[in-house]
């Protein structure tokens, strides 16, 4: 049954429903593989075998009573370690939370449990989701299954490497500036950031509250859609959660018809700064769509130029406040200096020892950006840019249904290549950040291997707010065109991990 791990989740759920295979067998298959390969990929910070098998067993029992709890009933899942879970430590990739076990499940985790999806474990991430490579994780970087010397993207590199390495069929990520989409692009998998508010953030350890959104990670568009259907919906515990359902994403995927579709290419994200092979693949995607009769026009989004700058003011500002609670008083690490220290000194020593360099860098940046006298110039201006970007997008969406961009400027870079160059690292997110600033949905779908390095690249689909279904439909159209060319999913072309 080892082949089970290569099956899409949509097939696994059907096999489980028909009782051709049990959820326990599927879950075991992923554990057997994960226990062998996680030392290689470092995808998981914590594996949950006993509890997951118990959950799988319950899922099987429910099925035998005729109960189907969700569209992915019985399919196991990996969860990014910045979502709280009552039965596993939640570290957010930081030493400051090492060993902390929350007393409450994130709303999304509750939905997974109620949906009879056994949780395999908690996946690695850059500390507090600050980074694009997992190199800022306090527990070491995850590896890209395509090339173990390379990063699997970040911050959700644990989830992307687990899914692309077949250590999990689907996974949960969180996306503040591209943390789901960039990892998906560089690992040849699919990842979606839903509309802001479509998925409850309750229990997500906040990075930047106004930008954070939880979303699905999978090997194909349909699985991604099925998972979004499981986790989305209004939550009274999250005041920013949307009141109404956005409909079924899986249904949108099944209607992958390009007829009448109008696509925009963002002028500001289609020329400079992209790896030539990545640019060629993007042009190829556009050519394929044109061949299908899709109307493609160039759209001008002049404010995108300031998106990265605005993002790196808003994010650190909110993060500096969100991370203030890590003070040793109520939970987590406590470092007590010598002598008879005051509470201020204990707090300072704990934060000094518990936070890594990128977290400290952003806290300092954010504290500065909010300081009186600087607020208007930094945080205030950044909020204005945000409004301008929304206006750019509104104008663009008057002309076209969706926007397409390359998801990332490059394929996966080497571990260590950018870790000491924060600015270069920040530019990875140049194409993904606008979606977070504007609250619109965005997803990355693989579109081939770059000719320079043979590594995967992705195309990003951006849709208007609350039109996640439209985004999935376009994702499915593009995926279908490539499947016709490749004959099988891109990930089947990845080197076998076992061989390493």
């Amino acid at each position: 049954m080892s082949e089970l791990v290569y099956r899409p989740a949509s097939e696994l759920v059907a096999l489980i429903a028909k009782k051709e295979v049990s959820s326990v067998e599927v879950t075991k298959a992923f554990f057997d593989r994960s226990e062998k390969l996680n030392p290689v990929t470092n995808s998981y910070l914590h594996l949950n075998r006993e509890l997951a098998l118990a959950a799988a067993n319950s899922a099987d029992e429910a099925l035998s009573r005729g109960e189907v709890s969700s569209p992915l009933h019985g399919v196991p899942i990996a969860v990014k370690d910045n979502l709280t879970t009552t039965d596993a430590p939640t570290t957010s990739g930081s030493k400051i939370l090492e060993g902390w076990v929350p007393q409450y499940d994130a709303t999304v985790v509750t939905k997974l449990r109620q949906g009879a999806m056994p949780i395999l474990g908690k996946t690695n991430l850059d500390e507090f989701a600050m980074g694009s490579s997992t190199e800022y994780s306090a527990f070491g970087p995850s590896k890209n299954p395509w090339d173990l010397d390379r990063i699997p993207g970040g911050s959700g590199g644990g989830s992307s490497s687990a899914v692309s390495g077949f250590l999990a069929p689907v996974a949960i990520g969180s996306d503040t500036g591209g943390s789901i989409r960039f990892p998906a692009a560089v690992t040849g998998s699919v990842g979606a950031k839903p509309t802001y508010g479509a998925v409850s953030r309750y229990g997500l350890i906040a990075l930047a509250s106004s930008l954070d959104q939880i979303g699905p990670v999978a090997n194909n568009v349909l699985d991604t859609a099925l998972l979004q259907d499981v986790i989305s919906g209004h939550d009274p515990m999250d005041s920013t959660s949307l009141p109404n359902s956005l409909g079924s994403m899986a249904q949108a995927v099944r209607q992958a018809d390009p007829k009448g579709l109008r696509v925009g290419v963002v002028k500001q994200l289609s020329s400079d700064g992209f790896q030539p092979g990545v640019k060629e693949l993007f042009d190829d995607t556009i050519a394929k769509l044109v061949a299908e009769g899709v109307e493609v026009v160039e759209v001008d989004c002049p404010s995108f130029e300031y998106a990265v700058a605005a993002y790196y003011l808003i994010l650190p500002a909110e993060a500096s406040s969100n991370l203030a609670k890590f003070d040793s008083v109520r939970f987590g690490l406590r470092v007590t200096p010598e002598g008879n220290p005051t509470i201020e000194r204990v707090m300072a020593a704990t934060r000094e020892a518990g936070f890594g360099p990128e977290v400290k860098r952003r806290i300092i940046l954010g504290t500065y950006a909010l300081s009186s006298g600087y607020y208007d110039a930094y945080y205030g201006s950044a909020q204005k840019v945000r409004t301008l970007i929304q206006q750019d997008l509104n104008r663009a969406f008057e002309k076209v249904d969706v926007l397409l961009t390359p998801t990332a400027p490059t394929t996966a870079f080497k571990i260590g290549e950018k870790v000491n160059d924060p600015l270069a690292m920040y530019l990875n997110d140049i194409a993904t950040i606008p979606a977070n600033l504007a609250g619109i949905p965005g997803m990355s779908v693989p579109n081939g291997l770059a000719r320079e390095d043979g590594l995967p690249s992705g195309v990003q689909i951006l849709a208007p707010q609350m039109q996640d279904a439209l985004m999935y439909r376009v994702g499915a159209i593009i995926e279908k065109l490539y499947l016709a060319q490749w004959g099988s999913p891109l990930l089947t072309k990845a080197p076998k991990l076992e061989a390493k």
Partner: protein, 500 residues
């Protein structure tokens, strides 16, 4: 301990104009806290009314208590404020161990209510208009107890305990504009203002309004400027003045302290000061400057409150009568003396007396019952008078029986005792205890004869003009009649006998 030199109050007012500003925090009496479902309860075991939200645990998110918003708007409306179409929450960032998130969720530049005014009448009849700048919503912090060390302050304490039961309790902070022109009445005005706020929130039942429990807390700003000067002087903010008397004394103390410094050519340090009720002085706290940087920014986890006109008007129409206006109306309607009326007000018995009068008792009779017998019973059993198990209607019914001559005062007190003991309505108590005035004159005369036989000199004394001698006979007759006789009638009969 108090080493400050003070200028005499008279001299201070001769040279300087006093400017005061008051910040009053009102703790709302909502069932649950501001942003979570925990009970808002005074006196529970430490850290029992807590949850991930009010403990500021990672991943938790706030959700606004609608009732608290409603109470805040009601307070704003009662103070003549405008209600903002958009009330936004903001984070006030600072590290302190009683602040679970290390930021306080408050309101900054978009308070829910603003631009109001209230007329304050002093005991002298003089009245002042106090301008309200704003009334905004915020959450309370936890409570620190410093253990060890002499002062109970954080400095020198061995360790400190923190109770988060109060963390997240809803507060409304009411801020006045600077108040000019009160002259020597400034301290009295400050206290009268706080009393007025307390009475208003109490009459609206939005707060328990107990100053001794910190339900209403006041910070008093005081500054002086040379008479005729334009520029405002440097102010101090005296914290924790938690009784009306303290407010008056603290303001007066600050006037005299600052006047001395200024008259010696010194300058006032802008700082917070602590009022020491026991010894009657203020001491320097933390230096405070306008540059105190709380790095306010809009709370991204909450959507703004946008009350519509219908909601605002429904709250406005439900506002009770202004307490000061009501007092004026009742005092004139009841015809009480200043002293009698103040007795009722200070004992917090306006509601009870009003209801008893409404049920048919005369104002004087109602007043006597509540400030007399019922206050005595409540006091003796150490409970609040409002907790007595007797209604104003029952009191009025008993009074009616007295007026009709069916009960003596003593019997009426027994009926009250019966009602309080849960024996039912007054009529049932009378029936059960057989309380009936003896109206049989024959029986009375027989009892009088018997008493006179034992005290033969009484009649002679009465005839000599010593009418009070009748008292001994009345006492004996009442005892013989087991109290169930009309003492006035007995007296009449004795006097008739003496004069016949």
């Amino acid at each position: 301990m108090a080493k400050d030199n003070l200028l005499s109050y008279e001299a201070a007012l001769e040279q300087f104009e006093v400017v005061i500003g008051l910040e009053v925090h009102v703790e709302l009496n909502t069932k649950t806290k501001m942003f979570c479902g925990c009970a808002n309860e005074f006196g529970s075991e430490p850290n029992t009314n807590v949850c991930p939200v009010c403990l500021g645990l990672p991943g938790s998110l706030p959700a606004v208590n609608k009732k608290a918003v409603e109470s805040s708007m009601a307070i704003g409306l009662a103070l003549g404020c405008k209600i903002a179409p958009t009330g936004r929450f903001a984070r006030k960032n600072y590290f302190y161990p009683d602040l679970s998130k290390n930021f306080q969720t408050s309101q900054y530049d978009e308070p829910i209510a603003y631009d109001g005014e209230i007329t304050i009448e002093l005991d002298s009849g003089e009245s002042f208009v106090v301008q309200i700048e704003r009334a905004h919503m915020e959450e309370d912090a936890g409570k620190l107890t410093h253990v060890g060390g002499a002062t109970g302050r954080i400095q020198g304490a061995e360790y400190s305990l923190v109770d988060y039961n109060r963390a997240g309790v809803p507060l409304v902070e009411i801020v006045t504009r600077p108040v000019f022109g009160a002259g020597d009445k400034a301290p009295e005005l400050a206290a009268a203002y706080v009393r007025a706020i307390r009475d208003i929130v109490k009459s609206m039942d939005v707060s328990d309004a107990k100053m001794e429990r910190g339900n209403v807390r006041c910070d008093a700003n005081v500054s002086l400027r040379k008479k005729g000067a334009e520029k405002l002087g440097t102010r101090t903010e005296t914290k924790n003045v938690n009784s009306l008397r303290s407010i008056e004394n603290a303001v007066r103390y600050e006037i005299q302290r600052q006047a001395y410094i200024l008259s010696q050519g010194g300058t006032i340090t802008q700082e917070t000061r602590h009022w020491h009720e026991d010894r009657g002085y203020t001491s320097a706290g933390r230096p405070k400057s306008d540059a105190d940087d709380y790095r306010y920014f809009p709370e991204p986890d909450l959507v703004p409150v946008q009350p519509d006109i219908a909601w605002i008007e429904s709250i406005r129409s439900a506002l009770p009568e202004n307490p000061a206006a009501r007092r004026k109306r009742l005092q004139s309607a009841w015809g009480f003396s200043e002293l009698e009326f103040r007795d009722v007000v200070n004992s917090d018995l306006l509601d009870q007396v009003e209801a008893t009068v409404a049920a048919g008792a005369s104002p004087q009779a109602a007043r006597k019952w509540w400030t007399g017998e019922l206050a005595r019973v409540a006091n003796a059993s150490e409970i609040e008078i409002s907790a007595l198990q007797i209604t104003p209607e029952q009191v009025a019914a008993i009074q009616k029986l007295i007026d009709a001559g069916d009960l003596t005062d003593r019997m009426a007190r027994e009926v009250v005792a019966g009602v309080l003991a849960g024996e039912g309505e007054p009529a049932a108590v009378i029936e059960k205890r057989g309380l009936k005035v003896v109206t049989d004159e024959g029986a009375l005369i027989a009892a009088i004869d018997e008493a006179l036989a034992k005290q033969p000199d009484v009649l002679e004394k009465i005839r000599e003009g010593k009418v009070q001698a009748a008292g001994a006979v009345i006492g004996a007759v009442m005892q013989a009649m087991k109290g169930q006789a009309d003492a006035a009638r007995v007296r009449e009969l004795i006097l008739e006998r003496a004069n016949s």
